[in-house]
Subunit: 333 residues, 2 copies
DNA sequence: CATCAATATGAAAACGTTTTCAATTTGATT
DNA sequence: AATCAAATTGAAAACGTTTTCATATTGATG
């Protein structure tokens, strides 16, 4: 009934060697005579011995597990990053402990502590904001942490992103160039640095270069949800917006459907550019033009960076910006 | 530089008690005199002691971690289940190690073994098929395993699903009742029991009850991808299908867009019912009618069931069927 | 064949907890 | 005051590895 586990000690006894030797062959240490290695391997096979990773973790102080804090796996943007993270993690023999934070500061702190208690070798953090409390926890953590799709206000943590300001600026310029004088800026909370310090900045910059006066009535701060976007239509109409740059694809889909459901035509009456280029952009009609981001790669590169940090390898640049683009689809002319 | 960790031993020394007592207060064991408890708690606070979960896992043979095998986090259907799993896991103080399997049998087996090596207390498995090899691994695992959104051919593993056959039958009947004589059946591989033994069976049953002859030209076996669905349009037209029951929402979105992009009208020329009721159904236009499944709940209930199994609690029913429904939206008349 | 360096091995000490069992203290009851 | 049960505590043995250090063993070299 009880799990009759076979331990390294059993193998050692059967193979008539010491535990140390078994450990060596299991870990591929070359200092083992081929004959001994074979003998041990045979016993391992015969006994169906599987090393206990927990014991290993205790002894070696390495768990080959990394923590991943994600706002919500259900969100296409984040799950794309998560996939990149997991693939690279697996490639380097790590597993990931995945936890949803709902962007809730308290939950984030708590989850971080659990992960540290579990002795993860590193952490990838995704989220739109880093609360002061969380930052403090990050600082006292001895474990390497990298941010993915998440900007660090103070700019000192390893991170992987695109240049959101430049991307938004380019997108907005694109809309203005086609004659849109009143371009709405729709994003999540402006408390989030990514929105306040990057996207909005790019937006303003584009207006400025085009000689258009900034009008804060055109700035919409909302939830990152489909529903929230859909409900925005009347407000957009009331400020005479003819186009919008939107910070999230689900949100953008909501905006677009709100607009079309109200009888307007996208892109003829209203143009939309969204920000994350998830597969959702291709599934809605019209297909949404978008800033393109290498989502999978952001996760993958973040994880790769983390492996280097965990290995104490020299890393040249801790703040990585990946290239972005602009993909024209059918929500713009 | 090296992590200067404070251990239970440090606390014991400072508080002038034994490790055993510290362990007791940390674990909320009631057999500790209040005064002692306070003394220990104070030292813990002062030293900022954090129990090492790995050591704890080794000593107690419990890791409070469960493994989750998922085909692809990026898939809305599965990520919805995953979210339910994680929430309940967290509620019961478990963490989840999440690994993508890509439905690749070899990878599944390998991942399962890694999870077992890491001594997870339980496993939730999602996937469309259980290969023979995998089944064998499942059987020799001493760890409880539950299937979520995944039918077990042999019917002996704990699982949480809906009654796919009945749901599909009802959906197809719905289409037939509105006059559709040629209803296409579009799903993923028919090698998967869920398609072959349940959905297709429900489909045939509905035809039979309506007195319509089964025509295998109307059965389309394809990938669960948007693209695959989109490319199906010519084939659908060539067999004069006027409606379809589709096994996956992304796939269905592809089918629908393929049809509309070809100039046909949904639902007037072609009706569609999809199967998973993910949020995607609301985002496309027309919105897709769907079999409704309590996705989040399937994950949640599966995890809850797992907690019972892990605790050796009595469970009355190991094969759980959750209620389904039919949601009429705009892809049907 | 003596010597020395390299190569293989093993003994035992970590790693940081939980848990068992016995010992001690406490408090209530005569 | 004596007794006994219950409540608290501590010592030490797990848990299953890795790793250090010393010891054998081997092979090459002069």
């Amino acid at each position: 009934m009880d799990k009759q586990t076979v331990t390294i000690y059993d193998v050692a006894r059967e193979a008539d060697v010491s535990m140390a030797t078994v450990s060596r062959v299991v870990n591929g240490n070359p200092n083992v005579k081929p004959a001994t290695r074979k003998k041990v391997l045979d016993v391992i096979e015969r006994l169906d011995y599987r090393p206990n990773a927990v014991a290993r973790g205790l002894a070696s102080k390495k768990t080959t597990t990394v923590g991943v804090i994600i706002p919500d796996v259900t969100n296409v943007y984040f799950s794309a990053l998560a996939r990149g993270i997991d693939d690279i993690a697996m490639m380097y023999k790590y597993n990931i402990i995945l936890t949803n934070s709902d962007e809730n500061g308290r939950k984030e702190v708590q989850v971080l502590n659990t992960l540290m208690a579990k002795q993860v070798d590193g952490i990838v953090f995704m989220g739109n904001d880093i609360s002061e409390e969380l930052r403090k926890e990050f600082e006292r953590a001895k474990t390497p942490i990298v941010l993915a799709g998440c900007v660090d206000e103070k700019g000192d943590m390893p991170s992987v992103n695109i240049d959101y300001a430049a991307a938004v600026e380019e997108a907005v310029k694109n809309l203005i160039d086609r004659g849109n004088q009143r371009v709405a800026f729709i994003s999540g909370s402006l408390d989030h640095p990514i929105n306040r310090d990057y996207r909005l900045k790019g937006y303003k910059q584009a207006l400025k270069k085009a000689g258009i006066r900034y009008d804060d009535k055109l700035v919409f701060e909302t939830d990152y949800t489909y529903k929230a976007g859909q409900l925005l239509q009347p407000a957009l109409q009331s400020v005479n917006a003819t186009a919008a740059i939107v910070g999230d694809d689900e949100l953008a889909a909501g905006v677009m459907n709100g607009v079309t459901d109200a009888g307007l035509s996208v892109p003829d009456d209203f143009e939309i550019i969204t920000s994350n280029d998830t597969k959702l952009t291709e599934m809605v009609r019209p297909k949404m033009s978008s800033i393109t981001q290498p989502l999978y790669d952001i996760g993958a590169v973040a994880m790769r960076l983390l492996t280097k940090l965990m290995n104490n390898e020299q890393v040249d640049e801790k703040t990585i910006l990946l290239p972005y683009g602009l993909m024209k689809r059918d929500s713009t002319n």
